[in-house]
Symmetry: D2
Subunit: 344 residues, 4 copies
Amino acid sequence: MIVVMRSDSKEEEIGSVLDRLKELGLSGHLSQGTERTVIGVVGSTYPELREMLEMMPGVDDVIPISRPYKLSSREFKPYDTVVKVGDVEIGGDRLVVMAGPCAVESEEQLLRTARAVKAAGANVLRGGAFKPSTSPYTFRGLGEEGLKILAEARGQTGLPFITEVMAPQDVELVARYADVLQIGTRNMQNFILLEEAGRSGKPVMLKRGMSATIQEWLLSAEYILSQGNNRLILCERGIRTFETYTRNTMDVSAIPVIKKLSHLPIVADPSHGTGKWYLVAPLALASVAAGADGIIVEVHPSPDQALKDGAQSLTFESFGALMAKLAPVAEAVGRPLPAALEVR
Amino acid sequence: MIVVMRSDSKEEEIGSVLDRLKELGLSGHLSQGTERTVIGVVGSTYPELREMLEMMPGVDDVIPISRPYKLSSREFKPYDTVVKVGDVEIGGDRLVVMAGPCAVESEEQLLRTARAVKAAGANVLRGGAFKPSTSPYTFRGLGEEGLKILAEARGQTGLPFITEVMAPQDVELVARYADVLQIGTRNMQNFILLEEAGRSGKPVMLKRGMSATIQEWLLSAEYILSQGNNRLILCERGIRTFETYTRNTMDVSAIPVIKKLSHLPIVADPSHGTGKWYLVAPLALASVAAGADGIIVEVHPSPDQALKDGAQSLTFESFGALMAKLAPVAEAVGRPLPAALEVR
Amino acid sequence: MIVVMRSDSKEEEIGSVLDRLKELGLSGHLSQGTERTVIGVVGSTYPELREMLEMMPGVDDVIPISRPYKLSSREFKPYDTVVKVGDVEIGGDRLVVMAGPCAVESEEQLLRTARAVKAAGANVLRGGAFKPSTSPYTFRGLGEEGLKILAEARGQTGLPFITEVMAPQDVELVARYADVLQIGTRNMQNFILLEEAGRSGKPVMLKRGMSATIQEWLLSAEYILSQGNNRLILCERGIRTFETYTRNTMDVSAIPVIKKLSHLPIVADPSHGTGKWYLVAPLALASVAAGADGIIVEVHPSPDQALKDGAQSLTFESFGALMAKLAPVAEAVGRPLPAALEVR
Amino acid sequence: MIVVMRSDSKEEEIGSVLDRLKELGLSGHLSQGTERTVIGVVGSTYPELREMLEMMPGVDDVIPISRPYKLSSREFKPYDTVVKVGDVEIGGDRLVVMAGPCAVESEEQLLRTARAVKAAGANVLRGGAFKPSTSPYTFRGLGEEGLKILAEARGQTGLPFITEVMAPQDVELVARYADVLQIGTRNMQNFILLEEAGRSGKPVMLKRGMSATIQEWLLSAEYILSQGNNRLILCERGIRTFETYTRNTMDVSAIPVIKKLSHLPIVADPSHGTGKWYLVAPLALASVAAGADGIIVEVHPSPDQALKDGAQSLTFESFGALMAKLAPVAEAVGRPLPAALEVR
């Protein structure tokens, strides 16, 4: 942490900062510039220290120089984390493809979709049993009944499944059924839920908050990791910007940025990231080209009848077409599709 | 809801839309423009319908024309809602001034602050016992101990208090102590928490999500109102934009917009809205001039020692100065300060 | 400028940075922290230096600590600048009220408006002769004919006028007629236009770019000031955010921020800032309460017939109502309206 | 255009809207819904009409249903536009790769770079002679001298070149030397410059404004196309968002959106889009995977000595590495690199 003094700061103001640092068990290293005096803080700093120092007379700015997240950083763990979910490796040599409907609507809908996505090469099934909904007047999921249907689909297809958990008190229930717990964008800073999910010991996929910076996202990851749960996957799903043509703006750059800053695997969600089915394939390809460890895509037997998010769902046919286009791109970047794996 | 057909849409595509509407118990009113055909949907529509129709062949766009929120709208209830908290009326003839520390740190800190803000004219005490924190490595509040201290301060000063509740399972506990439950910005779309707070029957203050549109905010309000709880207050606290000089960008326009769209009272939080103590007074004045029903402000005995949000906290002295500046502005817009009330 | 080395940087990388600084006529002050080494750059730095140093091996980050703008800063000139336009002082003891139509449409329209806004207490006339337009297929102003009409209105009412200039080659023409040159939001970084306007010697009002940070705005101000033209006024007119209910989000906080960072006067434009006539009055009041030196407001004889921006224009009647509401707020913050001035 | 009346609108208000439409040579088609009356406007509408109608009593909202851009739309011209620059086709079967330094600094710097990027497979040279600069105190380009150096490099390498033009009065000069005129992000709404560039008859590359919606970008394209100049290329270069880790947020989705809405070719600029050299390769790959017709990349002999934008410039070596990675991705999406072309 560096304390920048005002250009007109007085001797005694500089002295007070040095004294305060000493009181706190730290020390200050003085550096006299042409215009300003700068004090480097030596010792173990913490976020609150910044605000405390900013308040002191004569201080112009306080600049943190170390990153506030730890367990998620590459400095802490230089090698890529691979999360194993049954036979599937997320963050390993091959891409992971998660697919399925936004919401579980019925056993028939889910089973048909599960078989179709498996046939097309997906290796994880997705489907919502508890659905967040902007309005209280819309469909909010089948609850435990939905979890049972997902488990049934896993039994029939062998695909492990990922599903969202929305409340701390539901973690235990959802963890009993699901292979991966998903934390949705609206809950990225629901810290109590994060800790509860962390404690479950289950693999967790943490979606980026729609207005969260990359740093805030990694700080939320800390809540899960600090419970001793290292089976964590990040998911880029678009951020909120001024552009309204797309539902969100898919921040494809976040993928290589996370790869640089963190050891955690990262999956891309072009369905929520764009909100339009005809943009899902180009953004899935783009995300994989940029280095994503996998994609998560919404697929529905008849999107125009879907109870939720139909506009961004692929049909079985268009999902098949996406997989056909994705295969050569995945090969081109050295991360082949999971389908190839099963052939061996 | 209006269905806009593509300029090259075919007869049978238009027919299919009309048929689908009939299936759903609605009807379509055809309007042939120079370039495009437009179908007005007659009957009671719902959000999912939009996506369903957007998926149909030949459809270019589907435009909702009624607002998705109901109970919070002025069309539903034309007259202003006034929320009574003890003797204090929020949304009534006089402003409400809520003040206190970001977090309750100790009995001594809170009692001193409570007395000081009361003396300066505040009529509600604020203070956090459960604190959301971006990082798991920082101070997160005293919990129930903090609630007891707040209750003690109420006993000594007569000020009712508002405090944040972060988890559904804590609502019952916090409601046992608090006069007003606060839902924080990160939880604006924590729908399970909203319903639980709604069911408590306690007055609730719902902060705007930092990246929520005004419409999404009112939809979150519906979650609370639809539980039969009408004692709801909105709070503008700044939104996330590209500007980094301020912590958030205080959306002062949201105040008159809410007054137009809704009957609910609205309070402004210039402390979080700006993140800098020297901007709190100008933005408090601005918010009141724009029509806010009150302000909520962070005050701390020694901001440079605060465990949280010191940089945006006022000292007792600067809070007094704010109240002195606010009085004539409040008079000028016909909403006098609460202090005047006590004189009667 | 401070160079933060990576935690794993090597001796020779630190040495290279110090050598490079020496080559450039600067020196480096080494500060060894617990985790990282930090080098304070001593000497006169410049923006490009940052990128050069960031590229060097072992460097993690380079942090500028002095502000890149100079002539516009309060450090350069501690006292408020007052811009005189005829008898009107912008930034002086009284507010300035600029009013008039978005675009000059005809002599009759402008003269009626000029008389009406003068009668209601405005002291500067506004009106566009050259209009930027998002689409090439819409009205783009009367050009020099419009300037002549504005000059005629000045002759009849005594009100000085402000009008936009869009192209460097038009500066000379517009300066021949106008009292104040306006640089619009889309041209805030049209650097050639800024310099040309600066060289004209005329007072200039520089609107904030709709996606410009406060720092970028002050840097654009430098382009005008560095031509030796100190008669510069800033204008906050809303920034682009995700909220779509309002045309822009009026950044009211920018007003006290500018007052803190700069000596330049600042005027608020609630017409463009909100895009809706019924929000103009509350945001005008808010801006003045926050410390603005004046307001600029669109007024039209029949907004529903306006060729441009009718939705945000006030009628004569609603402008009169605004002035009546503004008067007590202006008094409350110690900056009375100009009308009072004329009484003397 | 559709006029939505308020739920409490009166008969005569509806009548007034119909009368006004008749006055304007249009007609209104009435549609009575359960809650609201809606009027479809029949005839040729224009943007100003919207605001006029919004002002009328009883009107709640006016919704445009046709897009305001024409010449740039796929409805106007269904087939892809291919812009020929010498032997290079932009928007054709093969990718275009534009590379070179941000700014021309010297003949030696540019010639070395031109030869290096050609050797690595680029087929257009880029380099700035007139440079926009946020601050007046930084390097602003060599001017005509820079153009001469670019022409010299073209002579030696055979590569056509693209360079920015910043002022209407410079268009003739720049067009005398350059193969393609670039309009920078800060000038996307400098409408006078757009028209002047359109009139030059030269191919133009129009960068997206950093806070421009896709619709505004296409409207700016209209300014050039409406001058009879069809040799227009769009360039996505990142938009401004709340995320500060990257300089801008590259809106990769804009690429397939443009392909859907428009017939114009689109090129991606990952250098400005990310601002960090190590993100250039992943975003270049992502853009091509998403359907871009080409990339434009900054390359410098020694980025750490660059006078401008060093942090986002590739070395010759890293540009070679990018081309090696790009080749298989380009093949995978069926748009091979230009290098392959020359081999034939």
